[in-house]
């Protein structure tokens, strides 16, 4: 507040409020452009590593901007809104982007994505995500959605000569464009029936039982479900996860989903809170089917990243349980879950990236055979992440699961909670399968561990969070409880 007032006093410019509110996005956008120019003229051979380092630097400054200017308000004629919730989502998105940078820092060459475009595209997509969680009108919403998605389509195709990567990119692009079309059609319907695209005006009008609006909502929800890979709109996820290089897979699995969840929360809790009853059933179906598909579908998978894809579908189902609950508890549960899940996924991908077999990245689950004999520490880390993803106490995943089902029961969704925990037992099976391969089986060809400093840091950080979450719980509790919609 102090800094903001100081700036305001010294710079008597009309509209400075809005610019300050959007300062992280503006900063990232401008500095990305400057970075491109710098890259062309100065970086030469070390282009990738330097842009990568600068990218981290830019994101860190953006985090400080988001933290130091924690003012809330509406800007740009009501198109843009900064709330405590959006600041939370911005921070968690920015952290996940830092993890992407760190994961790719030394591994890009090995994974075949050593192009400095990777870093620009990542930054631009980040910019889109930050705007998305702050959008306050359907126009901003859609534009930000596209700004977020378009760089990702290109990133998927960065590994030009790889046929799987090309397939993944095409699939992601086609289905992503289709879902954007759905969303746009839904928006147009809502505009037609409400007469406004501003979130505020939409939320002020009573929307009860209007066929057109419900139809538009269903279309928007379907499009959003595509983007967060919730069943029955999940088909792209396994193929895309399998085909893309691991740092990009990690990126697709975290940041865009977090940002879309952020705006989905805002839409459901605030904008369409009047017709929550209709929405709730739809999300219930999404949630249940995601849990079902994610837990059953992963059992037969042999490819590690396909398995992670299905597991992320199941986890999306658990997260949506919190949204079905439609309460403050549910909101907080989602926030906890996202933090926990982000760190777990970071750890898992850091381990996947640090291992190689026959000079190739590991792909199959059976590639992990005998990991324990070769690299005990790494395998114990992966063991802890797997138990945590399965939701076994006292690891962090348990607390996420617990909070989510707590919110469901608190709102009276008993059957959903019971089905949810039963599915979580099913999903425990395939996490155990990975542990079995690592610990109970031996292999002839040794796995090579090639973890650099950044990756080791990420593994240790994730390990710390997932083992000691019970001790950090009160701290998170203090932070998250103050967040209101």
């Amino acid at each position: 507040m102090f800094i903001q007032n100081t700036i305001k006093n010294y710079l008597q410019i009309p509209g400075i409020d809005g610019l300050l509110l959007a300062s992280p996005e503006i900063f990232i956008f401008c500095s990305t452009l400057i970075l491109m120019i710098l890259d062309i003229f100065f970086f030469k051979e070390k282009s990738f590593k330097n842009t990568n380092k600068f990218g981290i630097f830019i994101i860190i400054i953006a985090i400080f901007l988001a933290l130091l200017l924690p003012s809330t308000g509406v800007a740009f004629n009501g198109l843009y809104l900064v709330s405590e919730l959006s600041i939370f989502f911005k921070l968690i998105i920015l952290f996940s982007i830092i993890f992407v940078f760190l994961l790719s820092h030394n591994k890009a060459d090995f994974e075949g994505i050593k192009f400095s475009e990777f870093n620009y595209l990542l930054l631009l997509s980040t910019c889109g995500m930050l705007i998305l969680v702050s959008s306050n009108s359907f126009l901003t919403f859609f534009l930000a959605l596209e700004l977020q998605a378009l760089p990702i389509y290109v990133m998927c195709a960065l590994k030009k000569n790889d046929i799987k990567s090309a397939e993944a990119s095409l699939k992601y692009f086609l289905l992503g464009a289709l879902s954007s079309g759905f969303i746009l059609f839904g928006i147009s319907l809502i505009y037609g029936f409400v007469g406004s695209i501003s979130f505020e005006q939409v939320s002020n009008i009573s929307l009860k039982d209007d066929m057109g609006i419900n139809f538009g909502l269903i279309l928007i929800l379907a499009g959003v479900a595509f983007k967060i890979s919730s069943a029955p709109f999940h088909m792209w996820a396994p193929d895309v996860y399998e085909g893309t290089p691991s740092p990009i897979t990690f990126f697709i699995a975290t940041a865009p989903k977090i940002s879309i969840l952020g705006i989905l929360i805002y839409l459901i809790y605030k904008v369409f809170s009047g017709i929550h009853g209709n929405l709730s059933d739809l999300i219930l179906v999404l949630s249940l089917s995601s849990m079902l598909v994610g837990s059953i579908g992963a059992i037969i998978q042999k490819n590690l990243k396909r398995l992670i894809a299905y597991s992320s579908i199941a986890h999306m189902g658990f997260i949506l349980v919190g949204m079905v609950a439609f309460s403050e508890k549910g909101l907080h549960a989602i926030m906890y879950y996202l933090i926990i899940y982000l760190f777990l996924l970071t750890g898992v991908f850091a381990i996947i990236l640090s291992l190689q077999k026959d000079n190739k990245p590991i792909e199959l689950i059976s590639d992990l055979k005998g990991l324990y004999n070769d690299h005990p520490f790494i395998s114990i880390c992966l063991l802890i992440f797997m138990f945590s993803l399965a939701g076994i106490p006292p690891l962090s995943g348990f607390f996420g699961k617990w909070l989510v089902f707590f919110s469901a029961i608190d709102s009276g969704f008993y059957i959903l909670a019971i089905l949810g925990v039963l599915f979580s037992v099913v999903s425990a099976f395939y996490y155990l399968k990975i542990i079995r391969v690592m610990f109970f089986e031996n292999s002839d060809t040794p796995l090579i561990l090639d973890g650099n400093r950044e990756i080791r840091f990420l593994i240790n950080l994730s390990l710390f969070i997932s083992v000691l979450f019970f001790a950090l719980f009160p701290i998170f509790d203090y932070m998250i409880l103050n967040t209101k919609i």
């Binding site: 076994i392 707590f406 029961i409 039963l422 037992v425 425990a428 155990l432 109970f440 719980f473 409880l481």
Partner: protein
């Protein structure tokens, strides 16, 4: 001074501290790529001394324990997550103390019995065992439902690894079955726990006990808890994981599984189901009697048909735990006393039997009852030990097995004579299969006994077996050592039924 110390938390975290110390012992390799003998010895010694220290601490606790006090003792209370009403509260009463002592008593025995049998990954084995011990002690002393649940389920992680890494041929199947079966049971308890917290606003057991749930709520919540405890006990028909897990687990794993993990179910019934849901407990009493009677009769027959001696003991465990559930749901002093006493005595006896089987298996590498025999001449000392354990398991007067069974029979006669008759008659079945087991092993002629070089129990085994025999007889003659602890908690449980 020392009274102010968080002595119970120290007890819970002492094994974890020991595990941490073991972690620090370097894995120095010699030229052949094996860990140096020195560090292996160090690992074993550190784990042994940690577990013995834990045992001594539990003895200290039971000496300082005041068993006329109605409140929980050694209480510790810390705010944990205030917004959700979760507190870290641990404390002891007469119900939990015997189990904690039993745990701390069995763990050094487990460590000693795997002294030479565990050949690979000894460091990890000891670490998992100590962590397992910490979780179990934590579970028995938790007075907050969430803390209880966390420890209750956390036990699965080290146990899964113990079965899966150091187990027998079919270990992967057995470990998966064990893990998923128990997890499936306990997630339903999670739902029940969440419901309790959502309605009462707290997870502190002392406060939750004051809340009166309506009859319908009780009926559902009881079922949620029932499934997780029934899988753990295990009651028929939820017992199928037990034979697999027992057969495949290493000897130490079997001891801890039969000795302690099965008791978590019975303890859970006494700690949560009965005091929280008295109406539902009364409602479900006949069904539980039915399941328990089936368990006793059916598994006795199944045990009789077994070729694998570990499986035989596993099925006999199910039968003995059937007595426990009958005793618990009698809702009178004798029944409850008998149930808890039976749990303690079964913990010692079944642990001893698995240990004895481990001793044979180390020498002959077979568990087939038809291939074993004539140990009375080849291993006379061992046969004497085995006789004590067998007779204890049969329930001969003078051994601890007798007290538990007879108290349960008295208790159940008061409620339902039919149940008492059925379970009383099945004592004969128990005698039949256990005596057949002993006859074949000690006196029968084995087919291929010449193949093995059999020597009698050595000093280490002697030192492990002796305390078990002593306790079996001591508890058989002076049952009040245990029963004194149980008077007050059982009185309090029964008060809720009036």
């Amino acid at each position: 001074m020392i009274e102010d110390w968080p002595i119970l938390s120290i007890l819970i975290f002492l094994p974890i501290f020991g595990a941490f110390l073991i972690l620090l012992i370097p894995n120095k390799l010699n030229q052949d790529g094996e860990i140096l003998k020195n560090s292996i010895t160090n690992i074993k010694l550190v784990s042994l001394w940690t577990s013995i220290m834990t045992f001594l601490m539990t003895l200290l606790l039971s000496l300082k324990f005041n068993y006329t006090e109605k409140q929980y003792q050694f209480l510790e209370f810390y705010e944990w997550v205030p917004s959700l009403g979760i507190v870290y509260r641990v404390g002891l009463d007469g119900l939990s103390l015997p189990f904690i002592v039993l745990t701390a008593f069995l763990v050094p025995i487990c460590i000693l019995c795997s002294w030479n049998t565990i050949q690979h990954k000894i460091k990890e084995f000891m670490i998992s065992f100590l962590i397992l011990e910490a979780f179990i002690i934590g579970m028995f002393s938790a007075l907050d439902i969430v803390v209880f649940y966390i420890f209750f389920e956390a036990v699965l992680i080290p146990m899964f690894l113990i079965i899966g890494i150091w187990g027998g041929v079919e270990r992967i199947y057995a470990s998966f079955k064990f893990f998923l079966y128990t997890l499936l049971g306990s997630v339903l308890m999670l739902i029940a726990i969440i419901y309790i917290i959502a309605t009462t606003g707290t997870s502190d057991l002392i406060q939750v006990l004051d809340y009166d749930f309506s009859k319908t709520e009780q009926l559902f919540l009881f079922l949620g808890f029932f499934f997780s405890f029934a899988v753990k006990v295990p009651m028929w028909p939820f017992h199928t994981w037990l034979p697999d897990a027992h057969v495949q687990a290493p000897t130490a794993g079997s001891i801890i599984l039969a000795g302690i993990l099965l008791k978590m179910g019975g303890y859970g019934f006494l700690r949560f189901s009965l005091p929280l849901f008295p109406d539902a407990s009364l409602f479900y009493q006949p069904y539980i009697f039915f399941l328990s009677c089936v368990a006793i009769v059916y598994t006795s027959f199944v045990a009789f048909a077994q070729q694998d001696i570990k499986k035989l003991i596993a099925y006999s465990s199910v039968a003995h735990m059937g007595f426990v559930t009958i005793g618990i749901f009698c809702f009178n002093t004798q029944g409850l006393d008998g149930a808890v006493f039976q749990m303690v005595s079964h913990g010692i006896i079944s642990g001893a039997l698995f240990l004895a089987i481990g001793v044979i298996y180390e020498r002959t590498h077979t568990r087939d009852i038809n291939k074993l025999g004539d140990f009375a001449t080849t291993m006379p000392k061992y046969s004497v030990f085995l006789m004590f354990f067998t007779l204890g398991s049969v329930g001969l007067p003078g051994t601890s097995g007798f007290i538990g069974e007879v108290l349960v029979l008295i208790g159940s006669w008061k409620v339902n004579p039919l149940v008492a008759i059925i379970s009383g008659l099945s004592l004969i079945l128990g005698a039949i299969y256990m005596l057949r087991f002993y006859r074949k092993i000690s006196f029968g002629l084995s087919e291929n006994q010449d193949k093995y070089e059999i020597h009698d129990v050595n000093m280490r085994e002697f030192m492990i077996l002796i305390p078990l025999v002593i306790f079996i007889i001591l508890f058989g003659i002076f049952p009040n050592i245990v029963l004194n602890f149980l008077k007050v908690p059982h009185f309090l449980i029964l008060e809720t039924f009036k």
